[in-house]
Each structure stands twice: as structure tokens, then as C-alpha cells.
């Protein structure tokens, strides 16, 4: 299944070596060692790059498919460019081919001692399962990292941007500084409900992936989230925080965004 998709993308990327990193419902992510146009880019990693590819979907009418592929790719690049402009850490875009659904972006993350990439998930799992060290899991390093993640998400929300798919796999750690990735489901919204759902999705994801200590992690996340709302940088942060947290309680009770209409 993956092979014919790789063939599809290789047509648009001749002579570019591709290594599959992950496969989602909508896109494939590859890693490559070749930069498309410059050998010494202004990026921390100069020997590794990421290519995200949205393949054709055979079930869609070709016109609809072409429009979606193009618009989603544009939307994702726009979102990432805006984040960079706002100083919110996200991968930088290197190149894009909108009609073919291809985005080249910078490689982020380091290799953990066990070889996995430094997503929040892998890092916590490393402490939880590989080292199985509770004092590390509940120590100040993890605490600070979670607080930083909360600060980052708070900043995102204060700019009325919604990630749309917050999980511990979509947060990378570059030297304990968190970076958000994967904006395929991202959107813009000032509504407390949408921000609450964004947080709720993360909460649930933490619970299911890191059940043992997730209450601590989430507590620290929210701590960071609250902290940034109090910052002078953002007007009426306090008010927005109250609204979002109130909605979060509602969403938690409901279990989902909306009550059914029958």
C-alpha cells in the first residue's frame, strides 16, 4: 500500500532519496538527506529534512481531490508560516508544491538514547518504560518540559490558532524546548469552545498514552497554559483563560463537543 504512494511522490521528486517516517490518514511523512536547492540552509539541521506528502485519494472525484490536496497543503503552510512569524516554535518551510501536495520542511528533534525521535511521547516513554524511573518521570526536568508545552499551547490559543490534533506525538522536544508539528487539522478560532476541545484532546491523549503519571503531566501543562495567559504580552488573557477553562469543564462532562440532536 505504501509502495505505490511512494512511487506517486517519487515522480515529483526525482533523484531524491526518501525514507518513510510515518503514515497518517491524510499524508505520508518522509525524511531525506538532500535539500532541494541549497546545501547550507539557515537551519539547525543541514543534513536531514522532512517531506510531507498528501497522496491522491482514489475515492474522491478528481476535481474535489485536486482542490482538497491543494487547499490543505496551502492551509498547512500558511499556518506554519504564521507561527514562525509570531515566534511560536514550529518547523520552517523550505519549499512547497501545492498542486501535488508536497511540503519540504526543516527536520526537528534529536535522537533519544534508545534511537527514537525526541517527541514528548517518546521521551516520556523512555523515562517511564525504558529507564522505569519514577523520580525522573516526576522530577523537575519533566515538570519544566510540561510547563513549557503548556506555555506554547497557551501562546497558540492566545493568537486564536487551534492545533486540532494535539497528542504527545505532535510535540517535539529540541533541547527541552517544545515545538509543535503536524498542522493538517489546524484552524483559526477565537472561540473558547474550540480551545477547550484542543486541550481536551491533549488531555485524553496523555491519559491513554501515559496513564500512569498523566495527572501530573496534565497538571503541569495547565500550569504553563495558565501562566502565559497572565503574561502582559496578551490583552485580556485572564478573561480568555477563565472562559476556556470553564468550557473545558463542560467538554469533559459531555465527553464530546456537541450534544446530539437526535
Amino acid at each position: 500500500m505504501t509502495d505505490h504512494i511512494i512511487q506517486q511522490v517519487q515522480v515529483h521528486l526525482p533523484n531524491i532519496p526518501l525514507e518513510v517516517v510515518s503514515q497518517g490518514a491524510e499524508a505520508l511523512v518522509f525524511q531525506t538527506s538532500v535539500h532541494p536547492y541549497y546545501s547550507k540552509p539557515c537551519l539547525p539541521h543541514q543534513d536531514k529534512f522532512i517531506i510531507k506528502f498528501r497522496p491522491r485519494k482514489p475515492y474522491r472525484h478528481p476535481k474535489i481531490d485536486a482542490a482538497i490536496t491543494k487547499n490543505r497543503t496551502i492551509g498547512e503552510v500558511k499556518f506554519m508560516a504564521k507561527l514562525t512569524k509570531l515566534g511560536i516554535k514550529a518547523p520552517s518551510v523550505i519549499l512547497a508544491d501545492f498542486p501535488n501536495g508536497i511540503i519540504w520542511m526543516e527536520y526537528l528533534g534529536k535522537k533519544l538514547p534508545n534511537g527514537d525521535v525526541s517527541s514528548l511521547k517518546n521521551w516520556l516513554w523512555y523515562y517511564e518504560k525504558v529507564l522505569a524511573d519514577e523520580s525522573l518521570c516526576l522530577g523537575s526536568e519533566v515538570q519544566q518540559a510540561c510547563i513549557n508545552v503548556g506555555l506554547l499551547i497557551g501562546k497558540l490559543h492566545l493568537n486564536d490558532m487551534i492545533h486540532g490534533d494535539l497528542t504527545s506525538s505532535n510535540i517535539l522536544l529540541e533541547d527541552s524546548e517544545p515545538v509543535l508539528i503536524d498542522f493538517g487539522l489546524s484552524s483559526y478560532s477565537g472561540m473558547a469552545e474550540d480551545k477547550a476541545v484542543d486541550l481536551y484532546v491533549l488531555e485524553r491523549a496523555m491519559l491513554s498514552t501515559h496513564s500512569k503519571y498523566s495527572d501530573h503531566y496534565v497538571k503541569w501543562l495547565l500550569q504553563g497554559y495558565e501562566q502565559i495567559h497572565g503574561s502582559k504580552e496578551f490583552r485580556s488573557g485572564g478573561k480568555k483563560l477563565v472562559e476556556t477553562l470553564r468550557k473545558l469543564d463542560e467538554v469533559r462532562l459531555r465527553g464530546r463537543k456537541r450534544s446530539m440532536l437526535g
Partner: protein, 376 residues
């Protein structure tokens, strides 16, 4: 599945019989189902003894109103129950329980049917089992197709949800943010004055088969959910522009860019289906990826649409061991047998409703129900 389903079996009886009553929308259905003792499996299937239905159909251009629908159900319910008993060769007193749709659905029709259920329960001295309409669809779909743990796409006039089972609940992964897909199609059928016989959605499907030009419509998937009211408003406007009878609207002709041919109603039906179904397949695919599954079960009236099934098949083919399950119109359109089946599962795990606890409710979320008969 090692839940004991025979704790409440009547001594000396090797099977259970349940009667199910469904009337949450315009279909009134009564079904009688038989479960033999023991776990349900490929060698111990539930038996459909009867499955009778009457649909309240309104003239073209009109939808069905709660009050009229309730009247229809009241007029037909006794007849349908009698027919079901005769076809199933069962007497009322042979039954173990009376199952009814407790919700979700339209208030007045639900009410009419629950009154019939309560009456039968007192008449034959049988316990009542309230059933969630969606759970009925899901459990019947699983039983008929043999799909054990698929991601379920539930699409009907009143519901649009993507569901996956986890920890004794059918959890909603994605759903409509405004109207249901069946509702969207039905309303467009009214705009075009398409007949409601046998069902407006069926007629749109037949017209769509003759359409070929794709009209541009908004595509509104939002994460794991989708929205359809904007698309409906959009296509309603296009239809009004093309076929409007209002004197001040000059009949505009919409031309397909590529071929120069005029756009027809068939083209509109085609375009609407293509965009709505693409969205459904997309959110289903997202759920599949999320729970790491490769099986899809489509339930609900809109599930009988062949184009939807075709698109879903195309999507699933790209996945390892991908499989799609669907039932025919006997079971995917609202019916009484699914209520009997789900209700009987509930009954066998000791869940019945006391009389005072049989109030119907228009809002009844799929994930509110505790699935006691599964423990996987």
C-alpha cells in the same frame, strides 16, 4: 467476549424471544428476534422471525412533521404488531421482553410507540427494555455482517456519526456539527420537488447516477467532524437560481466549464453526493487511523446508497486487510428487529426498564449507553 448472557434465562427454555418497536422517525417497524442460549457466534446466529415496517411518506416537496408522523404510527402500530406476530408464528405471551426505542429521535413519534410498548408489557406481563436507536443499528449491523469490531459509520436522516468501540462504550470519534446527512439529502430532494416514494434519498441516488458534471461546492470537514448546513444552503441557492419559479428570478443557466453543457438537476444530485460522501469517507478514514483498525461497518438508512459503499470500498482497499461491511435495506433502514436484537442483549445482561423509567428522550448520545454484553 466472555460475558455470561444466560444469567437471566428462564429455566427449561433453550432460547429467548424479543419483540422490538421502532418509530423514532417516519418508519414504524416491529420485529421479533430469537436468540438461542449461549454466546452469539458464527455458529449461533440470532434468528429474525419477522421484520415488518410501514413508512410514512409525504407528498413531494414536503417533509414529515412530528405530529403527523405520530398519528401515522398510532394508526399502524396495532396492525404491524399483529402482522409481526403472525409472520413470526409467535404469541405475545411467548416473548421474554418488549423492546422499544427510547431515543434519540422525534418526540411525538417516539411517544406514540412507547405507549404501545407499555401497553403490550402490561397486557402480557413482560419486562420493558428501552433501547438507544443508534445502538440498535450498530448491534444489528455487527450481527448480520459478522463484523466483530469495526469502525462504524452511522448515517441516517437524523444521525451522522463515526463510532468505535472501546471499554464498554461505543465512542463517538467524529460527527456532524449541524445537520445529519440524510436530512441534508432529504431537504435537497424537497428543493427539487423529488418524490418521497420510496425514499427521497433513494431517488436522489438514482438521479445522481445520471449526473456527470461536477458543480463546485464547499468542502467542510473540520478535524474529525463535518458540517453540512453550508453545503445545503449553497446547493439550494444554485437550484433556486436554475429552476426557480419566482417571477423576479430570471432562469440562469449554469454551464459546465469544460464541456459547455448546461447543468441539470441530475448533475446537482451527483455533485451533492460526491462532496458529502467524500467527507464521510474522510472522517471514517481518520477514525480508522486513530484506532488502528481496517474494518468499516456502514449502518443507517443512507448506508444503503451504492455510491457511498463504492467510495468506502475504494478507501479501504488501500489499507492492509481492509474490509467493508454493509447490510441491505431490511436492516440498514430503521426497523424493529434491530431494536429487538439490541434490547434482547440488554435483557440478557439483566438490564430492563421499570415502567416509570420508560420516558423517551429526543437526545440520547450513543456513548451514554453502557455496553454490558461486551467485555473486550
Amino acid at each position: 467476549m466472555t460475558v455470561d448472557l444466560d444469567q437471566y434465562a428462564k429455566p427449561g427454555k433453550g432460547y429467548y424471544l424479543a419483540l422490538g418497536l421502532e418509530g423514532s422517525a417516519n418508519k414504524l417497524g416491529v420485529g421479533i428476534i430469537k436468540h438461542h442460549l449461549g454466546q452469539l457466534s458464527s455458529t449461533n446466529r440470532a434468528e429474525v422471525l419477522s421484520n415488518v415496517r410501514d413508512t410514512y411518506i409525504t407528498p413531494p416537496g414536503e417533509g414529515f412533521l412530528p405530529r403527523d408522523t405520530a398519528r401515522h404510527h398510532r394508526n399502524w402500530v396495532v396492525r404491524i404488531i399483529k402482522k409481526a406476530l403472525v409472520e413470526g408464528n409467535v404469541r405475545g405471551t411467548d416473548l421474554d421482553c418488549i423492546c422499544f426505542t427510547q431515543g434519540p429521535g422525534m418526540g411525538a413519534p417516539l411517544q406514540s410507540v412507547v405507549i404501545a410498548a407499555r401497553t403490550l408489557s402490561q397486557l402480557w406481563n413482560l419486562p420493558l427494555v428501552g433501547v438507544n436507536h443508534c445502538i440498535g443499528h450498530i448491534e444489528m449491523g455487527r450481527e448480520i455482517t459478522g463484523a466483530h469490531n469495526p469502525v462504524v459509520l452511522y448515517v441516517s436522516g437524523g444521525n451522522t456519526q463515526v463510532i468505535a468501540y472501546s471499554d464498554q462504550r461505543y465512542r463517538i470519534f467524529g460527527e456532524t456539527l449541524d445537520i445529519a446527512i440524510g436530512n441534508c439529502l432529504d431537504r435537497f430532494a424537497r428543493t427539487l420537488m423529488i418524490p418521497n416514494e420510496p425514499a427521497p434519498g433513494y431517488n436522489i441516488e438514482q438521479m445522481a447516477k445520471k449526473g456527470k458534471h461536477l458543480v463546485s461546492l464547499p468542502y467542510t470537514v473540520k478535524g474529525m467532524d463535518l458540517s453540512m448546513s453550508g453545503i445545503l444552503a449553497n446547493i439550494d441557492q444554485i437550484a433556486k437560481d436554475l429552476f426557480g419559479k419566482a417571477k423576479q428570478v430570471k432562469n440562469k443557466q449554469l454551464i459546465d466549464e469544460e464541456t459547455g453543457e448546461p447543468i441539470t438537476s441530475e448533475d446537482l444530485c451527483f455533485s451533492l453526493q460526491e462532496v458529502l460522501f467524500s467527507m464521510l469517507v474522510e472522517i471514517t478514514e481518520r477514525a480508522l487511523a486513530h484506532v488502528n483498525s481496517n474494518q468499516v461497518l456502514i449502518v443507517g438508512g443512507v448506508g444503503s446508497n451504492e455510491r457511498l459503499q463504492e467510495m468506502m470500498k475504494l478507501m479501504i482497499q488501500d489499507r492492509k486487510n481492509g474490509q467493508i461491511y454493509a447490510t441491505d435495506e431490511r436492516f440498514c433502514i430503521d426497523n424493529g428487529i434491530m431494536i429487538a436484537h439490541a434490547g434482547l442483549l440488554s435483557y440478557r445482561t439483566g438490564q430492563t426498564n421499570d415502567l416509570w423509567n420508560t420516558v423517551c428522550t429526543q437526545r440520547f448520545r450513543t456513548d451514554e449507553v453502557f455496553i454490558k454484553w461486551r467485555d473486550d
